[in-house]
Symmetry: C2
């Protein structure tokens, strides 16, 4: 008897074609779309999403899966694909096609309102469209179902198994530890990082970013970089992985680490198994694991001493006027300055997590209905005062700074912090396995790091969930001590604590 | 009783969303796609085309159309939409979805082989994939059906009603007339156009192109321009019309008139009725009419004395070193030099039609099976010798120069010449209606021309076919005498014939 597996694979790959087509349209929307094209582009994306959803929830696929569960000769990876597809199928069956279409339209309106609101520096412009997004997200949570908290249903989409209980507990440990460290740092003299606020022309910054990506082994034959409002990574196969960046000529830190961050995401996508195109095992494990990949490169490596021992020469060549009189130690200290600030994507590794906690808290309250969109600016500004002691002067530098809500991405933010925890734990495992990794980095050799990630993370796709993958790769479950150790050690040295 | 028209409109617009999505993927393929992304991009485009085709040939649409034909309260435009959809439906029903998918894949392979063949300057690299395209195009002709010649079926896709009989007769008149004129010119001294072969840097050429497009009233809020191997125009609605160009730093003529040419196409697309998105009346009339729009701007206007009376100053400002010692008369003469040459897209207005005739002849013979792909280079090179007296030194400058065959666009070329005939006839009608049009152009006012085209061509979409539209706009059927008069008058003056 012939296996139905090839038929199933063809079916899933056709759905992948449609989803990736939609991703191309979204990439174009944020990079090159002319202004007036917004309306029709929105409906085009909505239509593709609707078709993909229809196909994925079709009884034909349900029946195919039933038959495949009865087959005895499937390999372990084939079985895993079938199981994961069944999980996704069960999840998607809960969301009617018309609801997906409606949500896509609401989000499209919301996204453009967010862009306009930023231009006008006024949350009010975004408020109503955002409340519409929140309302539909609450409906989505109800449709998906949950055990304890509606927000669990939404977080689950980004990291299966993540709950308000888990994150609340995690943040309850992390927050005081980081506050202690932050207070110790606050008692020390402020680091002067004005060298990073000189004038850095756009095209040289761009070249530096591209060269840095090449040094990370980002494959430009299988991807590209462009400019957009908010940096992101997307992919249309593992042979076409696209990242974007933004460049601020008066803030060096803005571009380079976003470049390395997105580059870390991109290496993961480029490293996923090619022959599993369109199948669950060709996809990333979870957004927490995805984020661990960007943060490992951005922070553990890209803000590390070893990395700069090798790369500082290139930087001085690109910007001689700005850096020729700056020692590597001054530079290293400047790029690791800890200071409470307004913008999440520009925050240091330490205060970053307070930005996340605030957003997590707000989303949780919005989804459970304790607050509404209108309440966001006040709540936001109060929390920034409380956690970080900073005053939010306007909405663009406040609650309008992230694209996520305009994208309808509720439940996403917590994965950023969890990603950092995973990153620290993975990086500790890499160092344990290879004692000379820092020496290698200091001469520009990051291949051992890359190979470890390829072998232990990229190659598995979605075979394991986050927890299993972490256990398999590091020998233990996720443990926040690696991150706390990492930041404590780092800042003790930098701040002489 | 409720009309089914809104349901039908929604259905067609959903298909349009999918087709336009496919067009975005193709645009990206020719502008920004990283090398390794080709394979998966090919299958993504093929999948979208297959889905669009499935939906368009679905019995659901057939039944809807049947019901709509019985409705009595439809407006004239609604009725026309329904009729045109029925025509398209009947045509598409002849092509099975699997055939569309196969053709899309074969063409994708062929396209990349064409790119490679050009890189290697070797037709042999393209031969087999091209023959595969020809074979599937012959199958397509059989599926579509025809009365006399299989090539009729393919030409019909670009201009409904166009046949080998018509084109053969047309070219039988045009060819000797143009040969006469060409011989008269050949007896005169050769025009020195070396001023156009100076060095013109890329970025200034780019700026010039953009400025010229703005002066043509190309709306950059509803479109954009990018760089590609072969210039083309595409659109994803009339609010997102994209053109591409290529720039040769040692050949000024290469970029500017391709820019104006594609700009003419783009004005047509931007001018189509917005409220008819996805409906036949929101589409262009035919490729012959489309071509008339590009050629009217490129040649009748863009190579005319009046246009340059106004625009020459801008050119001198952009390239002072190259043009400050060149009189407008020298420039005008140089850009209208007639000389048999190798590259169609760089040919003058006169010899251009011999390039088209050769391609038309080859396609006709390929589709009827008299010759095969392998025979193309020999046939091509012989015809270039015969018609134009030029020796083809290699395939890149010979039969590999056009993207069309790599795109599977058989039956297209004749519309270029017919487009020129329409352009001359439209331009004569514009001048007849508005005696001062040349005076207007010489002070930079092209709005009357644009408004005439908007009213007489753009606004109608596909309401009329090419012949009807021509009759309505100019008062008579297509008549080659306008083109012959136009070129005769032009070159008599330039060459003192």
């Amino acid at each position: 008897m012939h296996s139905l597996y090839p038929l199933y694979k063809t079916y899933l790959q056709q759905i992948a074609d449609i989803k990736y087509a939609s991703a191309v349209l979204q990439w174009d929307q944020e990079t090159y779309l002319p202004k007036n094209g917004n309306y029709t582009r929105g409906r085009q994306i909505a239509t593709l999403n609707e078709i993909a959803h229809e196909k994925f929830t079709d009884a034909k696929l349900g029946n195919l899966l039933k038959e495949l569960f009865l087959e005895e000769n499937l390999t372990a990876t084939e079985k895993r694909n079938v199981q994961l597809t069944q999980d996704d199928f069960d999840r998607n069956k809960k969301i009617p096609a018309a609801f997906v279409y409606k949500m896509s339209s609401v989000i499209n309106v919301g996204y453009h309102a967010w862009v306009d609101a930023r231009k006008q520096n006024s949350f009010v412009v975004f408020e109503k469209p955002l409340q519409d997004i929140i309302t539909i997200k609450k409906e989505e949570a109800e449709l998906l179902g949950y055990q304890k908290h509606p927000y669990d249903a939404l977080m689950n989409d980004y990291d299966k198994g993540l709950t308000v209980d888990i994150v609340d507990k995690l943040f309850a440990v992390l927050q005081p530890q980081l506050s202690l460290l932050l207070n110790a740092i606050a008692a020390k003299p402020i680091i002067d990082d004005s060298i990073l606020r000189q004038y850095f022309d756009k095209s040289t910054q761009w070249e530096l970013g591209v060269e840095t990506l090449k040094r990370m082994h980002f494959n430009f034959d299988a991807g590209r970089q462009d400019i957009s409002e908010h940096p992101f990574t997307t992919n249309f196969s593992n042979s076409d992985v696209r990242i974007t960046t933004r460049i601020d000529e008066n803030d060096f830190a803005n571009m380079l680490w976003s470049c390395i961050h997105e580059g870390g995401h991109a290496l993961y996508e480029q490293g996923l198994p090619e022959h599993e195109y369109g199948m669950p095992l060709g996809e990333h494990c979870s957004l927490s694991i995805h984020e661990s990949q960007s943060r490992l490169w951005e922070n553990c490596i890209g803000r590390g001493e070893s990395f700069w021992k090798f790369n500082y020469e290139m930087l001085k060549q690109k910007f001689p006027q700005q850096f020729n009189n700056v020692t590597i130690q001054q530079f290293y200290t400047a790029i690791n300055k800890v200071q409470p600030s307004l913008i999440r994507t520009e925050a240091d590794e330490l205060t970053y997590h307070f930005h996340v906690m605030i957003r997590y808290e707000i989303e949780k309250l919005l989804i459970e209905g304790t607050i509404v969109a209108k309440d966001i600016p006040t709540y936001w500004n109060e929390k920034y005062q409380k956690y970080l002691g900073v005053n939010v002067p306007n909405d663009v530098q406040g609650c309008l700074q992230d694209v996520h809500w305009g994208h309808g991405s509720f439940g996403y933010f917590a994965t950023y912090s969890i990603g950092s925890l995973y990153a620290a734990q993975f990086y500790a495992a890499i160092k344990k396995e290879n004692a000379i990794v820092e020496n290698q980095l200091s001469v520009g050799n990051n291949l051992d790091v890359l190979h470890w990630l390829q072998k232990n993370i990229y190659a598995h796709g979605r075979f394991y969930n986050s927890e299993e993958l972490c256990k398999k790769a590091t020998g233990e479950n996720l443990n926040s001590k690696y991150f706390i150790d990492y930041v404590t050690c780092k800042y003790k040295s930098i701040y002489n604590l």
